[in-house]
């Protein structure tokens, strides 16, 4: 914002975080160093080679990732057990703070989503906020980027229904962008350019977000008492999962996340991170410092920054604005993909975005902690291919050793100091350490739960939670090799320059079909079987050690199908497996959401909508047409939109001709872009409404005659 004076805050004292960072990462490095030494010793005693060097390097890197994860669990556990005073919610008394006169916008950026689900989530949040008595301090915005003409009209129609039902005219707004420049971050930027200055804060919600009213008010109060805080990220609880996969993810999130995030907060403190939604942001500094530049080069690394959230947090921190995790604030919810394949689709988008951070990593002026967040994000995806490489290198060494007939040459190693361990026992010891490092956070989460009686009850009791952890561990063991293969593919395709398309997430628990699972997993199955056969030939004992990895691949098709089933999720719930606090004690907001969705399910016409149903409504229905046209007219008040409309060609004779073609030939003869263009032209839309009702039927395309007949019959 060139015309606004720069606002700045002084840098916060560094000392305490410096020590925390040093201690935290030193623990991880020390652990990695010790175990790597043991591993190097194991390799040494069987004879060193170049491939063993590769194996050692891979081991060190992978173990470091695991050790950092483990340390998050360990530190988080101790902080939760003995108290963590350095929490944003604990630094100052914020509860008595008044928020009178403070305006906050709650924005829902959406893109071709299921509008029923989005609006019901918004309604639940709105009603919850109304119960706090602070509704008047908030405005809601549905920021649509939808490119499907039918979705566009449906969003408008349902928005009107919503504001009428809630009597929220002038409280809940709807805006559809004319182009999708900048995707989600561009959508938010467009909102800020139009209305940002009206609001001191804005809160970004995802399409599946639900927020408790008290939480929203608390966030505003926290921002008010901490004037140097630029962003507070809540930790959304995964909710509403029905499939087995979704419920396992949900259970893991609810049980492990508090411990992990407490650990994360230990070293991040006021240099936290942003996850793109369920966070409150101070508008002014965000507008000044967080507009994202284009990265140099071409896609997939260059161009627009896809995972904008991490970078926005880094830019905020760069200017000394604090970014915190409010990890102990309850009442922030989101949903999770219901099946492995949908989860992988989301992973693919995130992978591209996170790898792109490799370019931002070296940007001048970024805080070291921000770089750490970026590195951890990148490593999350690089771990997959590195693990695969580790397994392949190990296999190669074993195969080479066996078929060259070369025998191990035992040499002096640590063995005397380790009670003369045999080679097998030595390898087993390292394996056990690795398992402990991976499993320890889960175990600590259980102890954390055991120490907290009220929370324990919300997981169905300790015994059920323990069974859940065992079940989750078995599933994640089988799922991990698939993630490894997926991540490897995503990383490789990214490096080959193949970009991802921006698709809507599938969030419903419809279930994966066997055919779809076969199409997506046949490669995994084949790799699992071939690799298994290879291992069996190589050494049957080794094969059994590899079973968890191979089983995940070989069984990927049934695993994917069965875990996507809602029925299995329900059955597990009946058996008391993977219970979460929100399942045991349904919060008011989620109860409202579910009841309203059920009402929609029972009352809405759920038959598949005919093609161009939205267009038919926008043209024929006098009210939908009026809503659509009046929303278009309002765009004329914003010079930026006027410019965009002109750029699209709205108002030109071409659009009028397209409108004529639409009536004469039907919508099938027009491309989606042409239909969108017509629908963006208010003059043509009014004309189409009038013409469709006034013209003699014989001058209309047969498609329209049928549509009018069908529309009239329905009404």
């Amino acid at each position: 914002m060139a015309d606004t004076p720069t606002i700045s805050v002084a840098a916060a004292p560094r000392l305490q975080r410096g020590w925390r960072l040093f201690i935290f990462y030193s623990s991880a490095l020390l652990l990695t160093g010790l175990v790597s030494l043991l591993f190097a010793d194991l390799l040494w005693r069987t004879g060193w080679s170049a491939s063993r060097t590769v194996l050692l390097v891979l081991f060190v890197v992978l173990f470091l990732f695991a050790a950092i994860g483990c340390m998050h669990g360990v530190y988080g556990f101790f902080l939760r057990s003995f108290g963590d005073s350095r929490r944003i919610t604990n630094l100052k008394n914020y509860r008595d703070r008044t928020i009178d006169g403070i305006s906050t916008a709650i924005v829902f950026p959406i893109y071709n989503e299921d509008s029923v689900r989005v609006y019901e989530g918004l309604r639940a949040t709105y009603e919850s906020l109304a119960r706090t008595g602070q509704l008047e301090r908030f405005d809601f915005f549905i920021l649509s980027d939808s490119t499907d003409p039918d979705k566009w009209v449906e969003e408008e129609r349902r928005w009107f229904d919503l504001i009428r039902e809630l009597d929220a005219l002038g409280k809940i707004y709807y805006r559809r962008r004319l182009d999708n420049e900048g995707r989600k971050s561009g959508n938010v930027r467009d909102f800020l350019n139009a209305w940002g200055r009206r609001y001191r804060y804005f809160m970004v919600c995802d399409a599946d977000s639900v927020m408790r009213g008290e939480t929203l008010v608390d966030l505003v109060k926290l921002m008010e008492v901490h004037p140097t805080v630029g962003l507070i990220q809540t930790v959304p609880a995964l909710v509403n999962a029905e499939s087995l996969f979704g419920r396992i993810q949900q259970f893991a999130n609810r049980l492990y996340a508090p411990v992990f995030i407490a650990g994360l907060n230990y070293w991040a403190l006021d240099l936290g991170n942003y996850w793109g939604h369920n966070a409150i942001i101070r508008t002014e500094p965000f507008m000044q410092f967080c507009d994202l530049p284009q990265l140099p080069g071409t896609k997939p690394f260059g161009g627009q920054i896809l995972s904008h959230d991490f970078v926005e947090a880094a830019l905020m921190s760069r200017e000394n604005w604090e970014v915190w995790f409010a990890y102990d604030l309850e009442g922030s919810y989101e949903e999770t993909p219901q099946a492995m394949i949908e989860n992988a689709q989301r992973e693919r988008r995130w992978c591209q975005g996170n790898l792109q951070h490799g370019l931002v990593l070296f940007a001048k002026g970024l805080r070291g902690v921000s770089r750490l967040h970026l590195i951890l994000g990148i490593c999350g995806y690089l771990a997959g291919p590195l693990w695969l490489l580790f397994l392949i290198t190990f296999n190669w060494i074993y195969w080479y050793q066996k078929y060259t007939g070369l025998s191990d040459i035992p040499v002096q190693a640590f063995t005397p100091y380790l009670n003369n361990l045999s080679g097998t026992a030595h390898a087993l010891l390292i394996f056990i350490i690795c398992m402990v490092v991976i499993m320890l956070p889960k175990f600590l989460s259980l102890i954390d739960l055991a120490n907290d009686w009220p929370r324990r009850r919300l997981f169905g009791g300790l015994a059920r939670a323990t069974t859940g952890v065992v079940g989750e561990t078995i599933f994640s063991t089988l799922h991990a090799p698939l993630l490894m293969l997926w991540h490897t593919r995503f990383v490789v395709t990214n490096f080959l320059g193949i970009s991802v398309s921006w698709t809507t997430q599938k969030r419903a628990a419809g279930g994966t079909t066997w055919l779809f699972a076969f199409q997506r997993h046949w490669g995994h199955t084949l790799i699992g079987i071939v690799w298994g056969a290879f291992m069996w030939q190589l050494e049957p004992t080794l094969f059994w050690w590899f079973t968890p990895v191979l089983a995940g691949m070989a069984l990927s098709i049934p695993l994917s199908v069965l875990t996507s089933r809602r029925s299995l999720g329900t059955r597990a719930r009946s058996a008391g497996l993977f219970l979460t606090p929100e399942e045991i004690k349904l919060p008011q907001e989620l109860l409202s959401l579910r009841s309203n969705l059920k009402i929609h399910e029972l009352t809405d016409d759920n038959s598949p909508r005919p093609p161009h149903a939205g267009l038919v409504e926008a043209v024929l229905d006098p009210y939908v047409n009026a809503i659509h046209v009046s929303l278009l007219r309002e765009k004329q008040l914003n010079p930026a939109y006027v410019e965009q409309l002109a750029k699209l060609g709205v108002g030109s004779d071409r659009v009028q001709m397209l409108g004529e073609k639409l009536l004469a030939d039907g919508p099938d003869k027009l491309s989606t872009g042409e239909r969108l263009l017509i629908m963006a032209d208010q003059r043509v839309m009014v004309w189409l409404h009038q013409q469709s009702w006034q013209r003699p039927s014989e001058t209309l395309a047969p498609w329209w005659r049928g549509a009018i007949l069908e529309y009239s019959r329905r009404n």
């Binding site: 015309d3 707004y173 805006r175 140099p296 830019l315 931002v360 070296f362 006098p622 009046s630």
Partner: protein, 217 residues
Amino acid sequence: MESAVNTVILPDASGHLAGRPLEEWNAAYAKVENYFHALRIRNKVLLGDLVLRVLERAQRRAPAELNRSATQLAAEEMDRIVTEWFSEVLQSPPTKADQTLSTRGRLALLLADMPGRWQEQFLRPGPWPEEFTSAMRETFLRAGPDFQLSKMTPRPLDLGPITTLQNLGKMPYFRMTLVWAGFALLFIVFFWLTHGGFEQVRTWLSLLVDWFRQINQ
């Protein structure tokens, strides 16, 4: 504005009405009825009354406009009646230039909840109840509050060594240097192959062959 059907036009001996066959008027009736239905006029008596009012005006025009179908005439009259009524209720003169009034009127009907609360007022001449007129005149649909325009502009982000790497490709002779590096690599591979590399590859291949033989046995 006329208030009700005051002239009943009956079919002539040939079964024509205002110079057109009854089927044509039937189609016109259906068209007008469908539109009012789309406006959510659910009361059948009111609906029938409104349709007849429109048809009556169309029938009056019909003898003079023989080249136009009854449906066309009825649709035009329907539009005219509705727009005139909007003009009176909203106290806004109709303009021929655009259809703002029609859109605004339909929106006002929706916002005032005409289908739910005020069906009997639709197309009725004034005066109308105060609550109805204020609901029609004072409600506006807003996509957002008043704009407070600004322009976010990205601050330059110095990517440090990444920029240097990105710029490498633009350096003069970069591609040529790359080709030379490729030559060097070829020489290195050649050296390796001629200094034990061949044997190494041969060993690997024979190991593989042996292994496959072993499996097949």
